[in-house]
């Protein structure tokens, strides 16, 4: 028989008085958070030197559920806040946890410039193809022809390819996984946490309530089965070839892993030179 339990071994990382979280049944966000906690546990990071920053939206709630130093910023401004944290205290390990709307629509410019400067932080972007919290409006990542509340006859805008944007802006580590690739996602998060520089992980996750039920995937389980059927792992390919289309293959994998001096290191060198 299964054993009934009261507490979970990962409860020490959570503010358990806020659990259960507000995310819908079948939402992929809980899975992504779970993988992140497993990655934290396995990578021996000092929790006193860890800061989680998130923006607004369903994914923005992550900062409130984690029992570490965390900050819930205004809409789109997670990355500028995290940049400030990192520059004021270079010892901190800064992780930005936010959604596609927050990071690429409202905060798009901040993302591009933080990646260009190669500021030492890890950005985890949960991409659910729409603005889930406000009722499922189309966003910059909604695939062509997808139906949302503001595109009831199908989306006519070309979407962003987030991995391509990150790689082109200068990120040193770029990977994409779906919420079903839990083990690979966990390993990828560990790699990104231990790497210096601007590291970016895109996680494609289900949003059954506002996106899925308008696109023939009414439950989270349907979306996960779709990922199982359609995702193809291609490590090291050019991210420009990894566009997301409705009904097409979802190309996942680690696309970029390079070394580049970070903003901190260059600044320190300059300071020594001037002295």
């Amino acid at each position: 028989m299964e054993i009934e339990a009261e507490t979970h071994p990962l409860d020490k990382y959570l503010r358990t008085d806020r659990i259960p979280h507000i995310w819908c049944p079948g939402c992929g966000l809980g899975t992504v958070l779970n993988c992140f906690l497993h990655a934290l546990e396995e990578s021996d990071i000092d929790l006193k030197n860890l800061a989680i920053v998130s923006g607004i939206g369903c994914t923005g709630r992550v900062a409130g559920y984690l029992n570490v130093d965390s900050y819930h910023t205004t809409h789109g401004r997670a990355i500028p806040f995290a940049t400030g944290l990192k520059l004021a205290n270079p010892k901190l390990k800064v992780v930005v946890f936010s959604g596609d709307g927050d990071l690429f629509a409202i905060g798009g410019n901040h993302f591009i410039h933080a990646a260009r400067r190669n500021i030492d932080m890890t950005v985890i972007c949960v991409n659910n193809y729409n603005y889930g919290m406000t009722g499922g409006q189309l966003g910059p990542t909604t695939p062509l022809e997808a139906k949302t509340t503001t595109s009831p006859y199908g989306n006519v805008e070309h979407p962003f390819n987030l991995c391509h944007v990150a790689a082109a802006s200068g990120a040193v580590y770029v990977a994409r996984w779906t919420a079903l690739h839990v083990r690979r996602l966990k390993e990828s998060m560990k790699e990104a946490l231990n790497k210096k520089g601007f590291t970016f992980i895109e996680v494609i996750a289900s949003c059954p309530t506002t996106y899925g039920r308008r696109n023939k995937m009414p439950t989270g389980l349907d979306t996960m089965r779709y990922y199982k059927e359609k995702s193809v792992i291609k490590h090291g390919i050019d991210p420009s070839e990894a566009d997301i289309e409705i009904g097409g293959d979802i190309i996942v994998g680690k696309f970029v892993d390079i070394e580049k001096p970070t903003f901190d290191e260059i600044l320190k060198k300059l300071e020594e030179k001037i002295k």
Binding site: M1, E2, I3, E4, A5, E6, T7, H8, P9, L10, D11, L14, I19, P20, H21, W23, C24, P25, G26, C27, G28, L29, G30, T31, L33, N34, C35, H38, L180, V182, R183, K186, T219, G220, L221, M224, R225, K228
Partner: protein, 86 residues
């Protein structure tokens, strides 16, 4: 083969722990378990969902931990059973 393999390899086993009242019934653990160890139970939890329960064969779980990684609610985890030398 029997000359150099002294013992038969035993598959590992896992114990399944479930926090029933946290479950929201998404079904990820039931559907994606590689050993098909779990099934939906008929009872209701405090929120009105059906939490998972084990199927009859107790030794089927190999303790891979996929369910504990994929659960969005932190409601299930695995403990690996120690190998006993009999």
């Amino acid at each position: 083969m029997k000359y150099w393999v002294k013992e038969e390899l035993k598959p590992p086993h896992g114990k399944v722990y479930i926090i029933k009242d946290r479950c929201k019934g998404c079904g990820f653990c039931i559907d994606f378990c590689p050993q098909q160890v779990l099934q939906e139970s008929e009872e209701f939890n405090a929120k009105g969902y059906h939490p998972p329960k084990l199927v009859e064969n107790e030794k089927k779980c190999i303790g891979c931990g996929f369910c504990s990684l994929v659960c969005p609610e932190f409601a299930i985890y695995i403990e690996k059973e120690e190998e006993k030398n009999d």
